[in-house]
Symmetry: C2
């Protein structure tokens, strides 16, 4: 049985999944290894907003273990959801902009532990990381990337990992079966909007689950054509 295609993101209450802007984000990711760059006020703001958006993830047992940050961590609903999102994923599809951010900041054991298909415009040989993550670069379109991910995932699901433009292209192309949002109690005011440019006239949502945790509200919808 073929798996589903889904995405799962943290979103601010005003609809953003990344702070403003991508260029600042690249400098922010570099700053992990060149701490002098954290003197840049834009970088500090980017990292602070990113931290607020993702703050529900950091203390979780799953997050700590997957990134080998340490033993322990919190259990409960947030942890169950983060762990289930990881375990259901047999392969991921990722845009080049998200890859560029991650290439600067993932540990050597990148946190996917599955094939990842990166949608790009240039050829590049597969990049194999320790721990089971291999990045494959797909230069002939997002639909082909999703097809390759489906084949690689077997009976597990395909996660559209991000960023915003890649998720939106998949949603508008009718490739997404289901999505989850961890709605965070924060306002960004600017940044990458999840649904900017969505073809609203062709997409109907069916609410599947809504589960509050103390830190975020987990929302899941099935996507139907209308």
């Amino acid at each position: 049985m073929a798996g589903k295609v889904f995405f799962s993101v943290s979103m601010s209450l005003d609809g953003f999944i990344a702070p403003d802007s991508h260029a600042v984000g690249l400098r922010a990711m570099d700053s992990f290894f060149e701490p002098g760059k954290q003197d840049d006020p834009d970088v500090r703001r980017w990292l602070a907003q990113w931290g607020e958006l993702q703050q529900w993830l950091f203390p979780l047992r799953f997050f700590q273990e997957n990134l080998k940050l340490g033993e322990g961590g919190e259990e409960g609903l947030d942890n169950d959801i983060a762990k289930d999102t990881f375990e259901r994923t047999g392969a991921s599809v990722m845009g080049k902009r998200m890859f560029d951010l991650g290439e600067r900041s993932w540990p050597r054991e990148a946190p996917f532990h599955t094939p990842v298909f990166v949608v790009t415009h240039t050829e590049r040989a597969p990049w194999e990381r320790p721990g089971g993550t291999t990045f494959h670069f797909v230069d002939d379109g997002i639909e082909h990337a999703v097809d390759l991910a489906r084949a690689a995932a077997g009976d597990r699901d395909v996660r559209i990992a991000g960023g915003g433009a890649t998720i939106l292209a998949c949603l508008n192309a009718g490739l997404v079966d289901e999505f989850s949002i961890a709605l965070a109690p924060v306002l960004f005011g600017a940044g990458t909007r999840l649904f900017d440019g969505v073809d609203a006239s062709r997409i109907a949502l069916e609410p599947i689950r809504s589960e509050p945790s103390p830190r975020v509200t987990h929302l899941t919808y099935a996507v139907h054509a209308r």
Copy 2:
């Protein structure tokens, strides 16, 4: 004891509280009494989106009774929340654009049953409706309108009824203590965004409640300065 200042709106998952555009909305409200206008495809789309956003309200016992549409209707969480929102409200503040929409469509017994302070730029005598709703027109600023509403509300709360620009002006001015969103499973793609222009750097949100119903997710946040 003084009450709180709050707002309570239905919002699409992509952040809109009214369809595009206000001009079409005015035609849509007129169309209740001139059905020929519903042949306009923009008006049909506006009414369809408005209906999807507010669909959780229409079947409720409170909604049916308050608008004298009939006996009966659904009870449960959605009804409790709609009823509590009404009962806590001792006075409302409303922008002129929302008033213009409502003046075309409210029944003679307007559904507020309290004083309503309309923020406007022109003088107008109070407009008293049967059933206890009196619209007062305030032409010297939103803060004065909120002050007048506070005084009129006594120990009950002041609701910033809408529309988007008025809610945002109150939020950015630090006048809002708390707000609730009924997050609807619908995408608009365009329209009036609730948080467009929010001063995100000065507002911190504290999650108070998150309650899923089968139709929407009810989210409540306290607003703090940061």
